[in-house]
């Protein structure tokens, strides 16, 4: 029983462990945003983040405030961060699309295999934690079904219990797989936003190396390697080159 209390405490701390101060700051930021004082809104939201809190909504609001200040790279950065916390959120996707429509670089993304795309969109249906929760619930259901199987004396209940416990267990494992692959894609896919208005991508981590192509602020790049203040990056169309770390902000 003591264990259960401890568990509940831990679970709830994940959601509601905040004090009123953070929420007040968020409300202040929202009010400033609605009044058109976007700089104030940015400051309020950033304070909340500095206090060690996060939420997709908070990042989304901050992205909006940056967008209104015409700070596109920051807007894209925070939308991307919000998207990581809540993939598949329609509002975040929409605003990110609007912001991306305003940045200078139009990059044709490489097409992906259809099954990858499907799998990815399935994984994107819920956040990592969302999948984790669903998986946990299904795992509990599987245990309950197994209990029915063992305890029931009537044959039909035992049969139902047996098959449903197998099915829910399999589903729970799938959901954990989704959560894991979403988690892995975030962890392994290190991405960044270009913050320098215009910058030339080099062929090697050296200022004197050949200029390859030019990217502009707001463009999302994937980080491949990191050598002494330089990042090897790949843009959506597959082109690879090196950029100084100072011109990038990691998502």
């Amino acid at each position: 029983m003591k264990r259960l209390v401890l568990l509940i405490g831990i679970v709830f701390s994940a959601f509601g462990g905040y004090s009123a101060g953070e929420q007040e700051l968020v409300v202040r930021g929202n009010k400033a945003y609605s009044a058109g004082a976007y700089t104030d809104a940015v400051n309020s939201y950033k304070k909340v983040i500095a206090l060690g809190w996060e939420s997709p909504e908070l990042y989304y609001n901050l992205g909006n405030a940056f967008f209104k200040l015409n700070d596109l790279p920051n807007a894209v950065l925070w939308y991307e961060r919000a998207k990581r916390l809540a993939p598949g959120n329609e509002d975040i996707d929409y605003n990110l699309k609007v912001a991306n429509g305003k940045i200078a670089d139009k990059i044709e993304p490489l097409p992906e295999m259809f099954y990858k795309r499907w799998y990815f969109s399935l994984v994107q249906l819920f956040s990592v934690d969302g999948w984790a929760w669903i998986g946990v619930i299904f795992f509990l259901l599987a245990l309950c079904s197994a209990m029915v199987y063992f305890a029931a004396r009537v044959l039909i209940f035992r049969k139902i219990g047996f098959w449903s416990s197998l099915a829910t267990l399999a589903l729970a494992l799938f959901f954990f797989l989704f959560a894991w692959s979403g988690y892995r894609s975030i962890q392994s896919a290190r991405e960044a936003i270009v913050f320098t208005p215009t910058i030339t991508v080099k062929s090697s981590p050296d200022d004197k190396s050949t200029d390859l192509f030019v990217v502009h602020e707001g463009t999302k790049v994937r980080l491949l390697d990191n050598i002494s203040g330089w990042y090897e990056i790949r843009i959506a169309n597959g082109s690879v080159g090196w950029l100084p770390a100072s011109s990038l902000e990691q998502i």
Binding site: V26, E54, V98, L140, W180, Y183
Partner: protein, 636 residues
């Protein structure tokens, strides 16, 4: 007048008559035998400056006419050859007459008496010579002599000595001329082109056969088709002409550059007096009948006339300061607009009236740039023109009436309407703006019903005006510790592990419980025979003590209890049926089951039955002992 001339004509006619008689006399279809004559004729007296004709007539087919050496006269034209032939058939006889006429048009240049020597012509390789003529040229005495009636110049040109009596008209008698009010207008500036007919002869009818094509112009007729021609008289080069405007057109150049207006062509029928001659030879009589008073013999002469082409050089409008909304209006205008109401209910119509008044290419203004509020139902404007055409051009008013119906209540603004034109007088572009109109539309009473009729056709695609990001999340949302992730966290693993652990515990407990329960069953099972035998032994003691009541109870309990323990049947569920079922399940032989049930029944029966109590007890005891041992064997 023309008397002497007539006499000479008569002479030639006599000759003709003679030759005709000869022809009839010889009655052959041939001209042979006819006397060939070349006769020269002209007026014997002419005035200085007068033109007259000198005519040689040959009554045969001639060739190689050699004209006289004419001295003292100026030859204006000639010799002009003309032929006439006629074939007649009288009483089956055919006759043919051929007349060759050689004509000179001469003008007397100085006074005096002049001889015109003979001319010659060859007919069938014979040469025939004409008579010589003597002509007296007198001083021009101001009209008493010479030409006084038919006018001068070309009137006589077409006259010949033949039979034709119809007169003709000369080039200068009637002509058409085009005038442009301004040969160098600006683009869009109106000019007036007038076609005038100048005539010295009466004109019976005018038909315009080909109008000018005003390519490059916008044209407007300033005269109605059936207008009566306004006649004026005008003296040109000392001659009096009747002048009438036949066409008057306002033209607005649509492009700059050199534009050519091609000529107008018309047919007119001029009335010319017939010059019939009397044969009296009496100058007085002749004159009398040829007088205009008796001009009953009037011939209609058709004549084709063509005007001069006009070249208009159109200057382009200045490019500097040309407003964007300039649509080509040139002239001088005023602009007014009027909204018939500013407060109305939805679905009521409101009328915006714009009026442009002034002089210029009004009718080229076909629309105004009116910006209506969105959601207003608008229609094409009703354009009314009230155009007056004056000698200087086109003026009047052009009215645009815009009907609009607001479908939704609200506050609306009609933006100022701009009218831009090029002012001819000021030589610059002028823009007149109307005020902005504010409209208050209230909710109409008939909104519901009116909207029903429009709802079907009034559906529109959503019009996207702009795009923006979506609004922030304003509702309170949960914050989580930064970097915290439930997946893989302790809570996550605990949430998985604890239920699993609880499940395992449950499973173990369950197993233990079940095992314990099954153990008790087994014990009972194992002890069943023992208990039964104990009870039977006890029953045997009661039998020996002849305690009948206790004996039967003990036997019954031994049998039932044995079944209950052996087959795990609760005591409450014990019955003959349940026992039978349980035994059948254990595959006990039907005969044994039957025996067992019989024993049970016998026990109950003999308990209350009369008879030898001890014998009965003995028998029941043995039966019970036997059946239990039989079942024991059977179950093994």
């Amino acid at each position: 007048m023309g008397g002497k001339y007539a006499i000479m004509n008569t002479g030639s006619r006599m000759l003709f008559f003679l030759s005709w008689i000869l022809l009839v006399l010889f009655s052959a279809g041939r001209v042979q035998g006819q006397e060939i004559q070349l006769t020269g004729s002209a007026r014997s007296t002419v005035a200085v400056g007068e033109t007259f004709t000198l005519t040689y007539t040959l009554n045969a087919q001639g060739a190689g006419f050699r004209g006289p050496n004419i001295q003292g006269f100026e030859v204006l034209s000639g010799p002009n050859t003309s032929t006439s032939s006629s074939i007649r058939s009288i009483n089956g006889r055919t006759s043919m007459t051929i007349t060759y006429t050689y004509t000179y048009l001469l003008q007397a240049t100085r006074e005096g008496s002049f001889d015109i020597p003979a001319a010659s012509v060859s007919v069938d390789r014979k040469t025939f010579t004409s008579n010589t003529l003597n002509i007296k040229v007198v001083k021009n005495a101001g009209g008493s002599s010479g030409a006084s009636g038919h006018g001068s110049g070309g009137t006589q040109g077409g006259r010949n000595a033949g039979e034709s009596g119809a007169g003709s008209i000369g080039a200068g008698d009637v002509y058409v001329k085009a005038f442009a009010s301004n040969a160098n207008p600006l683009q869009g500036e109106g000019i007036v082109v007038t076609y005038k007919i100048f005539t010295k002869v009466p004109i019976a009818q005018i038909n315009i056969s080909k109008l000018s094509s005003f390519s490059g112009f916008w044209s407007q007729n300033l005269m109605k088709e059936n207008d009566k021609l306004q006649q004026t008289t005008q003296v040109i080069n000392g001659e009096q002409y009747v002048v009438a405007d036949i066409r008057k057109i306002a033209l607005f150049p649509l492009k700059s550059g050199r534009l050519v207006i091609d000529p107008l062509e018309l047919e007119c029928i001029a009335q010319v007096r017939k010059q019939t001659r009397t044969r009296t030879g009496d100058p007085f009589f002749d004159d009398f009948f040829n007088d205009s008073f008796f001009s009953s013999n009037i011939a209609n002469v058709e004549k084709n006339l063509k005007s001069n082409p006009l070249v208009i050089t159109v200057q382009p409008l200045p490019e500097s300061g040309k407003p964007l909304d300039f649509s080509g209006a040139v002239g001088s205008f005023t602009f007014q607009s009027e909204l018939d109401k500013t407060r109305l209910k939805s679905n009521e119509a409101v009328n915006l009236k714009c009026t442009i008044t002034g002089q210029g290419n009004l009718q080229l203004i076909d629309k105004l740039g009116v910006t209506f509020p969105p959601d207003f139902e608008t229609y094409d404007p009703k354009v009314t023109s009230d155009i007056k055409t004056t000698a200087t051009g086109v003026s009047g008013t052009q009215t645009f009436e815009y009907l609009m119906i607001p479908r939704k209540p609200g506050q609306f603004t009609i933006k100022p309407i701009n009218f831009t034109y090029f002012d001819i007088g000021k030589k610059r572009y002028v823009t007149i703006s109307s005020p902005a109109y504010n409209l208050t539309v209230e909710k109409g009473t008939g909104d519901g019903t009116a909207m029903v009729t429009y709802s079907g056709s009034g559906k529109e695609d959503i019009q996207y005006i702009g795009s923006d990001i979506r609004h922030i999340k304003d509702k309170r949302f949960p914050l989580s510790v930064k970097g915290y992730r439930f997946f893989g966290s302790t809570a996550f693993w605990l949430l998985l592990a604890i239920p699993l652990l609880l499940f395992i515990v449950f499973l173990l407990l369950w197993r233990k419980l079940a095992a314990r329960r099954s153990d008790a069953q087994l014990m009972k099972n194992l002890k069943a025979t023992k208990i039964a035998k104990k009870r039977l032994a006890k029953a045997d003691q009661y039998r020996k003590a002849s305690d009948q009541e206790a004996f039967y109870v003990e036997i019954s309990q031994a049998l039932w209890g044995y079944l209950s323990d052996k087959f795990s049947i609760p005591v409450a569920e014990l019955s003959i049926d349940s026992v039978q079922e349980a035994l059948q399940k254990k595959d006990v032989k039907e005969a044994i089951i039957h025996q067992f049930i019989d024993t049970l029944n016998n026990t109950e029966f003999t308990r209350f039955a009369p008879g030898e109590k001890n014998v009965n007890m003995e028998r029941i005891y043995n039966e019970a002992l036997e059946i239990i041992s039989k079942i024991e064997r059977e179950l093994k």
